[in-house]
C-alpha cells in the first residue's frame, strides 16, 4: 500500500486515511447521551420491523426444524438433527437439490452472458439505440404472473408459438412442459428472460461508465475491438459483474413464482426446486418441521455461495 512508497512525492493525489478503520468505528460509537437517544430513535422502527418479520421467523424456523410437528404446526417431539438427517439421505430431496443447482447455474450463466452481450451491443452510440435499450430492459416492468402466462402461451403444445414454428419448419412438436428435460429448459428460459432486463440495465450502466479514453488509448496502441472487450470492458466492469452474479444466483435459488405458475415442480419432480418444495411440504403436506429444516439448509447453501463469491470478489476485483 501507500505506506511502502519509498520516495513519497509531495504531489501525491491519493489521500488515504491515516487512522485505521477500527479507530473511526469507535469514534462513531463514542456518542454522548443525547446522540444515543437520537440514534435509538431513528434506528428503532427498522430494528422493530426486522425483529418482527425477519429475526423472529428465522429463529422460530430454526427452533421448529429441531422438532416434529403436528399438522397445525405445533411442535410435538424433540427430534434433534433428525429432520436434517432424513432430508439429506432422501433421494427425493437430493433430487431437488440437484435440479436446483442445475437451474441456478444455468440461469446465472445464461443471464450474465446474454445480459453482457446485449449491454455491449446497446452501449454503442447509434441512431435509434434508445429503442433497443428500452426493449432490452423492458422485462423489468413485467410481473412474474404476466411473464408466466406469456410463456405458457409460447410453450403451449397445440397453439403455442414454438409449436407453430416447429410445424412451419416441419420439425417434431415438443411438448415442452410435460417432459422432464424440456420442462427444465423451459423454466430456465423463462427465468433468464425475466432476469435479463435488470441485468442488462445494470451492465449497460457499468459499461457506459468506463472512460472512453481507455478505449481510445487502446485503439491507438493497436488493440482490436475484441481484445478491448476482453481486456478493458470485462475487467473494468468486473465489480458489477460480480454484483449481478450474486444477485442472480441468490434470486434463482429463491425462485418460486415462475415454478408455481409454469410447472408446479413437475413433471415427476424435474423442476421441484428447493423453495417450491418447502412450500409444498409446509402448506400441502403440513410437514412444518421438515419444511423448516429445508429452509435452514437453503439458507446455509445461499450463505456459503455468497461467502464464496465474496472471497473471489476480494481476490479478483481489486483495483
Amino acid at each position: 500500500m501507500l505506506k511502502n512508497v519509498a520516495e513519497p512525492e509531495p504531489e501525491s493525489l491519493d489521500v488515504t486515511p491515516t487512522t485505521p478503520k477500527a479507530k473511526s468505528r469507535t469514534k462513531v460509537f463514542a456518542l454522548n447521551a443525547k446522540d444515543k437517544y437520537y440514534a435509538l430513535l431513528f434506528l428503532g422502527p427498522s430494528v422493530l420491523l426486522l425483529a418482527l418479520f425477519v429475526f423472529y421467523p428465522m429463529i422460530k424456523t430454526l427452533y421448529i426444524s429441531l422438532f416434529l410437528t403436528s399438522g397445525l404446526g405445533k411442535t410435538t417431539v424433540f427430534a434433534g438433527l433428525g429432520n436434517y438427517v432424513r432430508l439429506l439421505t432422501s433421494a427425493d430431496y437430493l433430487n431437488s437439490l440437484g435440479v436446483t443447482l442445475i437451474y441456478v447455474f444455468a440461469v446465472t450463466i445464461l443471464t450474465i452472458a446474454l445480459g453482457l452481450l446485449l449491454a455491449h451491443l446497446a452501449s454503442e452510440t447509434l441512431p435509434g439505440i434508445g429503442i433497443f435499450r428500452t426493449l432490452f430492459s423492458a422485462t423489468m416492468g413485467v410481473s412474474v404472473s404476466v411473464a408466466a402466462i406469456f410463456w405458457l402461451f409460447i410453450f403451449n403444445p397445440s397453439t403455442g408459438f414454438l409449436s407453430l414454428l416447429s410445424n412451419w419448419l416441419h420439425l417434431p412438436v415438443i411438448n415442452w412442459l410435460t417432459q422432464p428435460n424440456t420442462a427444465m429448459v423451459a423454466v430456465v428460459i423463462t427465468t433468464v428472460w425475466m432476469n435479463l432486463g435488470f441485468t442488462f440495465l445494470i451492465l449497460l450502466g457499468a459499461i457506459q461508465s468506463v472512460p472512453t479514453s481507455l478505449y481510445e488509448a487502446a485503439s491507438v496502441a493497436g488493440a482490436k475491438p475484441g481484445y478491448q472487450f476482453f481486456h478493458i470492458t470485462i475487467p473494468m466492469i468486473s465489480p458489477t459483474l460480480f454484483f449481478v452474479s450474486i444477485i442472480t444466483l441468490i434470486g434463482s435459488f429463491k425462485s418460486f413464482g415462475l415454478i408455481d405458475l409454469i410447472t408446479k415442480g413437475g413433471p415427476t419432480n424435474a423442476t421441484n426446486m428447493l423453495v417450491y418444495r418447502i412450500y409444498k411440504d409446509a402448506f400441502y403436506s403440513g410437514n412444518f418441521a421438515q419444511a423448516s429444516a429445508e429452509s435452514i439448509i437453503l439458507t446455509v447453501i445461499i450463505a456459503l455461495f455468497t461467502l464464496l463469491q465474496f472471497k473471489i470478489l476480494e481476490r479478483r476485483v481489486n483495483y
Binding site: 500500500m1 501507500l2 512508497v5 519509498a6 513519497p8 512525492e9 504531489e11 501525491s12 493525489l13 491519493d14 472512460p211 479514453s213 481507455l214 481510445e216 488509448a217 487502446a218 485503439s219 491507438v220 496502441a221 493497436g222 488493440a223 482490436k224 481484445y227 481486456h231 478493458i232 475487467p235 473494468m236 468486473s238 481489486n318 483495483y319
Partner: protein, 362 residues
C-alpha cells in the same frame, strides 16, 4: 516531412462551428505544439491526426501516405492522454505492455522494451504498483513510458500536464522535452498554456476560433505576432493594446488615446490603428500631477521585477513591467511613454508591418 496537414477541416453534425483549412508541415523529430484557448479546436485536430475523430475535408499525410481513412492502430503513432488513460486493474508493468501485448509482439521483445521504457522514466522499482498507488507525477510517467515503449516515432500528447500542480508541471515539462530529444520523437503536443508552448516547441501552431492564427518558432510568435490575438496570447503580463489615431496633419505620427504621441518615422498605412506595446517596452516615470498622463492603480511585486497597473488619463488601463527595485505606489501620478518597440494592428486585428524600427517619443 513527417506529418502534413492539407486544408484539414472538421464539421460536426449539429454544430455550426467548424475547424477550417488547417494546413501545416511537421518535420521528423520536431517538437510541434498546438496551442490555443479552450474551444479553439486543438484537441479536435489532434484526435483527427490520431484517427479518433473523422476528417470532414482535406488530407492528413503521415510519412507521405494519406491516412484519412486509416484506423488509429494502423497509423503507427502513440498518444498520451490528459487523463493518462491508465488501466486501473493493471500494474505499471502491464499498463506499459498493454499495446505490445495487444499487437502480439514476441514476449522477449515486450520484456525488453517495457524494461527500457520504465527505466527511462525512472519507474522500474514501481513496476508492480497499481495506478491508484502512484502519485500524479508517477502516473504521468507511466503514460509517457507507454508511449516510449510503443516504439512509434510519432507521439501525440493532449494536455498531458494539465492535471499536475505548478511545480511538478515544470519538472515534467523538462522530462518530456529531454525524452523527445533523446528519442528523436516527432511530437505533436496540445496545450492551452502559452508558457509550455514557448518553452518546449520547435514550432508553434496558434489556434483560435477553430482557425490557424499563426505558425512559427517561439521567437517569431513572440516577436512578430501575426495578429492581435497572438500578440495577446503570448507574454505575461499581457501586451498593451492602445487605440490610436494618426496625428492631424502628419503621416508619421500617432496620438495614443490622447495621452501621448508616437513618432513612427515612416508613413502609417491606416488612420485608426491599435498600438501593441509589451509591458517591458513601456516607460514609466514619477511625475508631477500637472505633467502626469496616468495614475498608478496597483502594483504586483514579483521579486526582481514589478508589474505596475496604471490607468491613462483617457481611461485605458495599461501594464508596465519595471525593475523590482522601482518604487511605485497606488494613486501616484506618473508619466507613461513607449521606448520604441511597438506593433501596429488594423481595425480587424491584423498586423500592419512597419518598414523601419519605430522611433517614438513620449
Amino acid at each position: 516531412m513527417s506529418i502534413v496537414l492539407e486544408n484539414v477541416s472538421k464539421r460536426f453534425d449539429n454544430d455550426p462551428e467548424t475547424l477550417t483549412d488547417i494546413s501545416a508541415e511537421i518535420q521528423t523529430g520536431e517538437f510541434f505544439v498546438i496551442v490555443g484557448p479552450s474551444g479553439s479546436g486543438k484537441s479536435t485536430l489532434l484526435r483527427m491526426i490520431a484517427g479518433l475523430g473523422s476528417i470532414s475535408g482535406g488530407e492528413i499525410k503521415i510519412n507521405g501516405r494519406v491516412v484519412n481513412d486509416l484506423a488509429p492502430k494502423d497509423r503507427k503513432l502513440s498518444m498520451v492522454f490528459q487523463s493518462y488513460a491508465l488501466y486501473p486493474f493493471l500494474n505499471v508493468w502491464n499498463n506499459v505492455a498493454f499495446g505490445l501485448n495487444a499487437r502480439k509482439i514476441a514476449k522477449v521483445d515486450i520484456k525488453d522494451r517495457v524494461a527500457k521504457a520504465l527505466d527511462m522514466v525512472g519507474l522500474t522499482e514501481f513496476k508492480d504498483r497499481k495506478p491508484r498507488e502512484l502519485s500524479g507525477g508517477q502516473r504521468q510517467r507511466v503514460a509517457l513510458a507507454r508511449a516510449v515503449a510503443d516504439d512509434s516515432n510519432i507521439c501525440l500528447m493532449d494536455e498531458p500536464l494539465s492535471n499536475l500542480d505548478a511545480q511538478l508541471r515544470i519538472k515534467m515539462r523538462q522530462e518530456i522535452y529531454n525524452l523527445q530529444r533523446k528519442l528523436g520523437l516527432t511530437l505533436i503536443y496540445v496545450t492551452h498554456d502559452q508558457v509550455e508552448a514557448m518553452t518546449m516547441a520547435d514550432h508553434i501552431m496558434v489556434l483560435n476560433d477553430r482557425q490557424v492564427q499563426q505558425i512559427g518558432t517561439p521567437s517569431e510568435i513572440y516577436q512578430e505576432p501575426a495578429n492581435e490575438f497572438v500578440a495577446q496570447f503570448f507574454g505575461t503580463p499581457q501586451i498593451n493594446l492602445l487605440p490610436a489615431v494618426k496625428t492631424a496633419g502628419s503621416q508619421t505620427s500617432l496620438d495614443i488615446t490622447a495621452d501621448f504621441a508616437l513618432n513612427l518615422n515612416q508613413t502609417i498605412p491606416a488612420t485608426e490603428v491599435k498600438v501593441g506595446i509589451r509591458p517591458n517596452d513601456l516607460t514609466i516615470a514619477d511625475s508631477s500631477e500637472l505633467n502626469a498622463n496616468a495614475v498608478v492603480d496597483n502594483i504586483e511585486y514579483l521579486g526582481d521585477e514589478t508589474i505596475v497597473y496604471a490607468t491613462l488619463n483617457s481611461g485605458t488601463a495599461v501594464r508596465v513591467l519595471v525593475d523590482g527595485q522601482a518604487n511605485f505606489r497606488s494613486y501616484q501620478p506618473v508619466q507613461i511613454g513607449a521606448s520604441g518597440k511597438v506593433m501596429l494592428f488594423d481595425s480587424k486585428g491584423q498586423r500592419l508591418h512597419l518598414t523601419k524600427e519605430a522611433m517614438s517619443y513620449a
